[in-house]
Symmetry: C2
Subunit: 214 residues, 2 copies
């Protein structure tokens, strides 16, 4: 009975995600589902992406958190519309929450929608949100073994942002081991070594993203 | 129906956790449920705690991960028995998994059992494991806003380890803001600023833990 119910929840989300994808496509909105551990730098990454693109691309952001509105406030301060979803206790966003958030956005006026998922390497991987691409941020300070421990999210991503690259030299993070794990799980993903702090590597990510935009 | 089933799952775990607690108490085993984000330093913290205490205290470790056995291997290399639980896809440990792991441990020979939960600030907070204390690690590199975003886990902990304190000066982590959030959520928790890398602050944690052991 538990398993059946679980399957229904997942299956209902799959169907809703397909509908959301069609709505986004109809409106010419490119959607990123951004996933990472707490503190990997999701909001900093969004703010820096906004800074690089906002003169040419109409961006909006949906912020997912268990509680608080601090992230949406930061995004709004950068001059971009943001909707904060507070999940209460849920460990991931789902299609239903995105559908609700869309009532606060005018898709006609948006080219790029970035959805910041709840900080978590597990549950968000199981729920599509109608996105075009999944982007995962993994930061140097988290260590090089994360792909081994959380294989699903690293298998399903379209791009991997290795953030806090400025900390590489002072850490024991082994980039060869990390790259080998990623290549084993997901050789097709775009990989970008960046630092939101110093700006290193950001141009490559922006060029890659710009090439994907509708 | 979803809600009822959810309640049953939680309630069943509450009952099992109580039974586990009684088993641990009967055997004089003090149990820590250690929770943190991926990469906050849980395994390094366990290894350093083992190093400090293993001459005086019989320690065992249960390692919880979605996949891989890298953590249990590290703990065994430190000369301590370790059981690896792979949750498959589940985002937290639960009482049933701990009950299964106990068949691989001799509780008679253990004074201190450290359970490393799945790296996740959300789901582990909802499932007691029969522990005596909950310990949360939050690292400087994750940023100072984590208590605002994940209030439940910070509200329920008995001790907070602020790890990677060696990175404080080179980061924009605001310790006053962080301390204010913690004081608001959980003024009774023991708070320890440490670095697993340099050893700073570790003696205070060990002294506090030693005072709790049965």
């Amino acid at each position: 009975m538990e398993i059946d119910l679980g399957r229904n929840v997942f299956e209902a989300n799959v169907q809703l995600a397909k509908k959301l994808k069609a709505v986004f496509d109809d409106n010419g909105v490119f959607v990123i589902n951004l996933m990472a551990s707490p503190g990997a730098g999701k909001t900093s990454f969004i703010l820096k992406t906004i800074e690089s693109l906002k003169d040419d691309v109409a961006i909006a952001v949906i912020e997912g958190d268990i509680a608080s509105a601090v992230d949406a406030e930061k995004v709004r301060a950068a001059g971009v519309p943001a909707v904060q979803i507070n999940t209460g206790g849920a460990c991931h966003l789902d299609g239903r929450m995105i559908k609700g958030a869309l009532t606060h956005l005018n898709l006609d006026e948006i080219d790029l929608l970035i959805i910041e998922n709840v900080g978590n390497l597990v549950c968000p991987a199981e729920f599509d949100l109608g996105e075009d691409i999944k982007v995962v941020i993994s930061s140097i300070s988290e260590g090089d073994d994360k792909p081994l421990k959380y294989p699903r999210i690293f298998s399903e991503m379209d791009a991997l942002i290795i953030n806090k690259i400025d900390l590489l030299e002072s850490s024991d993070f082994n980039m060869d081991d990390f790259a080998r794990s990623i290549a084993g799980l997901n050789p097709a993903a775009g990989v970008f070594e960046i630092s939101c702090k110093t700006g290193q590597g950001f141009d490559d990510w922006i060029a890659w993203l710009a090439s994907k935009l509708k």
